[in-house]
C-alpha cells in the first residue's frame, strides 16, 4: 500500500510519561464534537420504550469515545507494578487500513495535512472500516444521539451532529484547521504555513499536563517535528505498515515495548 504524503502532515506526539489518564481530553473531545451523553431511554421513540434500554456507558465497546484512554500495565506483581495511560485518538495513518475498504468513499485521505476524513452523510454504516482499523479508532452510532432536555441548545458548531447508523471517528478537530486558515487569511499570513499552535485539537488544548503535542510533523518550526524524532518516540503497530501520524513517547522501555509486537523478533513488514 502506498503511503500518502503531503507537504503538511498534521500529527500528534503524546508524552505517555505526562499522561495521568484523568479523562479531561475525552470530555473536551465529546463537547467539541457534539457527542451526546449516553442516556438509557429515548423518550421520543415509543418502540424503544418497548425493548431494552440503550447502552450503559460502562460497556466500553458501545461508547463514542473518539479519544479513548487505555491503561497499560507492566504486568509485574506488587510491589514492582507500574501503570501508564495511553490516550488513543485516530492515528490518521499515512497508509490507512480504513480508507481503501470503504465502498462509498465516505472516508478518504486526500486533503493537505493528511487528516483522514469521515463524511457522515455519505456513510452507509457498513462498518467495514471499523473491522479494518486495528486501533479501534472508529465508532458506530448504535443509536440516535440524544441530549437530555435542554442540553442540545449548547452545541458546538465545529461538527455536524450525526444520526444513528453511521461511523465516526476523531478527525483532529478538523474544522479548527479550517478556522485557523481563515484566521491566517484575515491576518494576512499564509494559511498553508500556520505557525506552531495556530491550529491544535481540543484534547491538546484541554490537557492539564500538556501531554499532547500537536503540529505539523514536516515543519521543523513546530515542536512535534523534534519530538517525533526523539529516541523515545514510537508509533503503535509500526510493523503493520500503516504509518500513523500519531506518535507516542515514553522514557520507560516497557511502555515503548507495548507499542508493537515483538514476540517473534521479526522485522518490519513491507
Amino acid at each position: 500500500m502506498q503511503v500518502k504524503e503531503f507537504k503538511i502532515k498534521w500529527g500528534m506526539v503524546i508524552d505517555i510519561d505526562k499522561c495521568t489518564g484523568c479523562g479531561a481530553c475525552m470530555i473536551g473531545c465529546q463537547v467539541e464534537n457534539n457527542i451526546a451523553p449516553m442516556t438509557k431511554k429515548d423518550p421520543y421513540n415509543y418502540v424503544q420504550a418497548l425493548t431494552k434500554d440503550r447502552d450503559d456507558p460502562s460497556n466500553k465497546l458501545r461508547t463514542l469515545t473518539w479519544m479513548n484512554i487505555y491503561e497499560l500495565s507492566n504486568g509485574q506483581p506488587y510491589p514492582n507494578h507500574e501503570t501508564a495511560y495511553l490516550p488513543r485518538p485516530c492515528m490518521q495513518c499515512g497508509s490507512p487500513a480504513c480508507v481503501p475498504v470503504c465502498p462509498v468513499v465516505a472516508t478518504d485521505k486526500n486533503e493537505e495535512g493528511g487528516i483522514v476524513s469521515q463524511i457522515y452523510p455519505r456513510c452507509i454504516g457498513c462498518r467495514y472500516c471499523m473491522a479494518a482499523c486495528p486501533y479501534h479508532a472508529r465508532y458506530f452510532n448504535w443509536w440516535d444521539p440524544l441530549w437530555p432536555e435542554g442540553m442540545d441548545k449548547g452545541l458546538s458548531t465545529a461538527v455536524s451532529p450525526r444520526p444513528r447508523g453511521v461511523v465516526e471517528k476523531c478527525n483532529f478537530c478538523h474544522s479548527r484547521y479550517l478556522d485557523a486558515k481563515d484566521k491566517a487569511r484575515q491576518e494576512g499570513s499564509d494559511p498553508m504555513n500556520l505557525p506552531d499552535g495556530a491550529y491544535v485539537t481540543a484534547c491538546t488544548d484541554i490537557c492539564p499536563t500538556k501531554a499532547i503535542h500537536f503540529g505539523d510533523l514536516n515543519n521543523p518550526e513546530h515542536k512535534v517535528y523534534e519530538l517525533s524524532r526523539s529516541k523515545h518516540a514510537f508509533r503503535l503497530l509500526e510493523k503493520l505498515g500503516l504509518h500513523p501520524q500519531v506518535y507516542y513517547m515514553s522514557e520507560r522501555e516497557w511502555v515503548r515495548k507495548q507499542g508493537d509486537n515483538y514476540n517473534a523478533g521479526g522485522g518490519a513488514h513491507h
Binding site: 465545529a158 478527525n171 487569511r185
Partner: protein, 248 residues
C-alpha cells in the same frame, strides 16, 4: 406470436406518445414547482433603503470578524447602532401602558413614543416594517430568524474568507465552463463585489426581498448550491476537492 406483437405495437404507439408527452410536460413544467413552498422572510427588509437611502456599505453589516469568520446576517447589536431603541425603556413604557410585553400586535398598535420616536423611516410602508422589527425582535432581545437563500446544511463548512478574493472578471474567462454553476448574466456587468457569483444578483438594490423557496422534502433552499457545483468551480480554479475542504 409475431402477429400479436405487431398488432400490439400498432395499437400502442399513439397512447404511448400521449402518455409520454403528458408526463413530460407535467414533469418539466408543473411538478418541479411542487417541490418548493414559498416562505416569506420574517420581515420586509429593504436593502435599497439601507444602501441607497442611507448610504451604508455592505461591510457595515456583512463583515469579517477578527478570527476570519464571516458575520452573515447582522445581529440586533449591529442593527441597534442605528435603530436606537433602548429595550429597557421600551419595556417600561409597555408596562406603563398596561400591555402584555409578548403581545406584539398590541404594542405596534399602541404607537408608543419611545418606539415611534426612534423610527427613521419616513413613509408609512417602511415605517411599518421598521416598527415590526423593533417591536418583534429588538426590544424582545430576539434575533431575527432570517431565511438564508444560500442555505447549506450543518455538514458543510463554507469559508467566506477563502472566497473573498474571487474576481468576477477573472472568472469570466471560464464563463462557459461555469454556465451551469453561475448565472452567465453575472459576468456581463461585473459589479464591485463578487457576491453575485453565488448570492441573489444585485441584492443591494432590492426593496422587497423575494420569498424563500423551501424544498418540501429536504428543507433546503431552491438556491442551495449542490456539491457538484462547488466541485466544478474548485476543479476549474485548481483548488482541492478533498472531502474535508468543505465538510465537517
Amino acid at each position: 406470436m409475431e402477429e400479436r406483437k405487431a398488432s400490439k405495437r400498432c395499437g400502442g404507439v399513439f397512447p404511448f406518445i400521449i402518455g409520454f408527452l403528458a408526463t413530460c410536460i407535467l414533469g418539466w413544467a408543473v411538478i418541479p414547482g411542487l417541490f418548493f413552498e414559498k416562505v416569506e422572510q420574517p420581515l420586509r427588509f429593504s436593502h435599497a433603503i439601507h444602501v441607497d437611502g442611507q448610504g451604508m456599505d455592505c461591510e457595515t453589516c456583512h463583515y469579517f470578524r477578527e478570527d476570519g469568520s464571516y458575520a452573515g446576517f447582522p445581529t440586533n447589536e449591529v442593527c441597534a447602532e442605528c435603530h436606537a431603541v433602548d429595550p429597557g425603556e421600551a419595556m417600561e413604557a409597555i408596562a406603563e401602558a398596561g400591555i402584555d410585553p409578548k403581545d406584539t400586535a398590541a404594542i405596534m398598535a399602541a404607537n408608543l413614543d419611545v418606539i415611534e420616536g426612534a423610527l427613521a423611516s419616513s413613509d408609512d410602508e417602511n415605517k411599518k416594517a421598521e416598527r415590526e422589527y423593533v417591536v418583534k425582535y429588538l426590544i424582545q432581545g430576539k434575533e431575527v430568524p432570517w431565511l438564508n437563500y444560500q442555505y447549506q446544511p450543518d455538514n458543510v463548512y463554507f469559508s467566506h474568507k477563502a472566497h473573498e478574493g474571487l474576481d468576477i472578471a477573472e472568472l469570466a474567462a471560464m464563463k462557459k465552463d461555469l454556465s451551469d454553476v453561475v448565472d452567465p448574466a453575472v459576468f456581463d456587468e461585473p459589479g464591485e463585489h463578487n457576491c453575485n457569483l453565488c448570492h441573489l444578483k444585485d441584492i443591494q438594490k432590492n426593496d422587497t426581498p423575494p420569498a424563500f423557496q423551501r424544498n418540501v422534502l429536504s428543507g433546503y433552499s431552491k438556491m442551495t448550491m449542490k456539491m457538484w457545483k462547488c466541485e466544478r468551480c474548485h476543479a476549474l480554479k485548481g483548488q482541492p476537492n478533498a472531502c474535508y475542504t468543505c465538510h465537517k
